[in-house]
C-alpha cells in the first residue's frame, strides 16, 4: 500500500512548523511518530498534501521537572517513557500504561504527543492524562495556551486543537508521594486497542480513600473522566458495596460501539471489571 503524494517539510523550530501549518491550512498535517497517520495514509483515509515532520524540533523532546509538575515534550516516545527513571519514581502509572500501548517497535517511534493529540478514542494515554489532571501546552499563530486534558476531547478524532496549532508538551501535576495507581487494560492481543481500560490514581489516609481520580479508555467516542465514580469511593475503605456503586456509576457514562472487541453491553461491563481491578490494585500499592 502506497500513500498519496505529498510534500515533506522538516522544520527545526516550533515557529517554523506553525508557519508551515498556517500557510498550507487544511492540506497540511503535522507528523509525529506517524504510527497512526502513516497507516491511515497508506489506506488513503488521510491524504494530506503537506506533511510537517516535527522530529527535527529539539524543543519538543525531553522530560523535565518544573515546580510540582513534570513536563514531557510532545515528541517523547513511549519507549522513552518506559525507560525514564524520573517518571518511574514520580508518576509510575505512565510506565504501566506505556507498556500496554501497541508493541515494542511501535513504542520506539510512537510519541506521547501524537497519542494524546490524535483524538483516537482507542489510544491509551488520553484517559491516563484525564485521570492525572494533565494540561496540554499548545502553540499556534496567535500564541500559546494550555488546554486541560479533561476539556480536550470532543468526539472521535475531534479535539480542541485548531488546525494550525501544535501540541508541544504535556504538563502533569506530580501525584502525592505514596499514591496508589493502576492502568488495567483488557485487550484481545498485544498491539490491540482496549476492549475497555481503566486508569486509577488514589491517595489513602488511615485505610480510607482521601482522593481518587478515574479515567476510562475506548468505551465512548472520547476518553472519559469518571468523576461521579471517583466521588463515590472517596472517603470509603473501598469495601465491596462501595466499589459496586462506583462501578455502576462508571458503567453508566459509557457508550461503546459494538465491534470485533465485543457487543456494546459486554464492553460496558468490561469497563466496570477493569475499574474494580484498578481500584483494588491502586489501593494495594498506596502507602
Amino acid at each position: 500500500m502506497i500513500p498519496g503524494s505529498f510534500a515533506y517539510h522538516r522544520p527545526t523550530s516550533v515557529n517554523d512548523a506553525i508557519r508551515l501549518l498556517a500557510d498550507f491550512g487544511e492540506e497540511a498535517r503535522p507528523l509525529a511518530g506517524g504510527h497512526s497517520l502513516i497507516p491511515m495514509m497508506k489506506l488513503r483515509l488521510a491524504t494530506p498534501e503537506h506533511l510537517v515532520d516535527l522530529a527535527g524540533i529539539a524543543d519538543l523532546k525531553g522530560i523535565r521537572t518544573e515546580g510540582g509538575d513534570i513536563v514531557i515534550g510532545a515528541m517523547v516516545t513511549q519507549h522513552e517513557i518506559v525507560g525514564s527513571d524520573l517518571l518511574a519514581a514520580k508518576i509510575p502509572i505512565l510506565r504501566e500504561a506505556s507498556l500496554l500501548v501497541a508493541d515494542p517497535q511501535v513504542r520506539y517511534v510512537g510519541t506521547l504527543g501524537g497519542n494524546v493529540a490524535n483524538g483516537d478514542p482507542g489510544n491509551d494515554m488520553p484517559a491516563v492524562m484525564m485521570c492525572l489532571g494533565a494540561g496540554y501546552g499548545v502553540v499556534g499563530s496567535s500564541g500559546e495556551r494550555t488546554i486541560p486534558a479533561r476539556e480536550f476531547y470532543q468526539g472521535a478524532y475531534l479535539t480542541a486543537l485548531k488546525p494550525s496549532e501544535i501540541l508541544t508538551n504535556i504538563r502533569i501535576p506530580v501525584p502525592a508521594a505514596g499514591h496508589g495507581f493502576a492502568y488495567e487494560k483488557l485487550k484481545r492481543k498485544i498491539g490491540d486497542y482496549a476492549t475497555a481500560a481503566a486508569a486509577v490514581v488514589v491517595t489513602m489516609s488511615g485505610g480510607t480513600v482521601a482522593t481518587c481520580s478515574i479515567g476510562l479508555t475506548n468505551v465512548a467516542d472520547t476518553p472519559l473522566w469518571a468523576e461521579e465514580a471517583a466521588r463515590i469511593v472517596t472517603g470509603s475503605t473501598l469495601d465491596a458495596a462501595t466499589v459496586k456503586r462506583a462501578v455502576a456509576a462508571a458503567e453508566a457514562i459509557t457508550s461503546p460501539a459494538s465491534d470485533g472487541r465485543g457487543p456494546a453491553h459486554y464492553r460496558t461491563k468490561m469497563a466496570g471489571v477493569m475499574l474494580a481491578r484498578a481500584l483494588a490494585s491502586a489501593k494495594a500499592r498506596a502507602h
Partner: protein, 166 residues
C-alpha cells in the same frame, strides 16, 4: 512530486538515493538498495517482518518514510553475518534451535532479537516473549524462537545454554 535526496548508513556503508516523499523505507531498502531481507508481510505495522534496526531502535520499516530516515544508521539482516560469511550468533542460534520453519518472519525476528539483547543481555523467557511481541510467526508457535534467543544470549554471555525442563 519532486524527489528528495536521502543518504543514510546501511549495514556500515554509505547509501543514498532519490525518493518521492511517500516512498516507504521498506520500499527504498528493497527496491533501490536491493536489500530484500526485510520483508513486507502485513503492510499494516502489525507483523514485524519488515523490522530493521535504526539508530538503536527496532522499527517497522513499512511504517516510516525513507525521508524520515535521512541521516540514520540502519542495520538489516544482510548486515548481521561477518564479511567472511560467519553467521551472527543469533543467526547461528536460530539454525541450531530450529527457530524457523518457512523463514518469512526470521529477518524481522532476528533484528528485533538483536536490539532486545543489546538492551538486556540476560532476558528471562517472559521478557523475551514480551520483547518479540511485535513480531508474528505463523509456523513455529514461538517455542523454538524463544529457545534460539535464549541460546544466543547464553553464547553472548559465555555461559552454557541450559534448556528449560518441559
Amino acid at each position: 512530486m519532486a524527489k528528495s535526496h536521502v543518504s543514510m548508513t546501511v549495514n556500515g556503508k554509505a547509501a543514498e538515493g532519490l525518493v518521492e516523499p511517500r516512498t516507504l523505507l521498506i520500499h527504498f531498502l528493497r527496491e533501490q538498495l536491493n536489500l530484500t531481507g526485510p520483508h513486507i508481510g502485513c503492510d499494516t505495522s502489525h507483523c514485524g517482518a519488515c523490522t530493521v534496526d535504526l539508530d538503536g531502535k527496532s522499527v517497522k520499516s513499512c511504517t516510516m518514510f525513507a525521508v524520515q530516515a535521512n541521516g540514520a544508521d540502519i542495520r538489516t539482516i544482510e548486515g548481521m553475518a561477518a564479511a567472511d560469511g560467519t553467521l551472527h550468533v543469533l543467526q547461528d542460534a536460530f539454525r541450531e534451535m530450529h527457530g524457523l520453519q518457512c523463514g518469512f518472519c526470521t529477518p524481522g525476528m532476528i533484528m528485533r532479537a538483536y536490539r532486545l539483547l543489546e538492551e538486556n543481555r540476560n532476558p528471562s523467557e517472559e521478557e523475551i516473549r514480551f520483547g518479540i511481541s511485535g513480531n508474528l510467526c505463523r509456523c513455529t508457535g514461538y517455542q523454538n524462537i524463544v529457545k534460539a534467543i535464549q541460546y544466543a544470549a547464553a553464547k553472548m554471555n559465555g555461559v552454557p545454554f541450559k534448556e528449560a525442563a518441559e
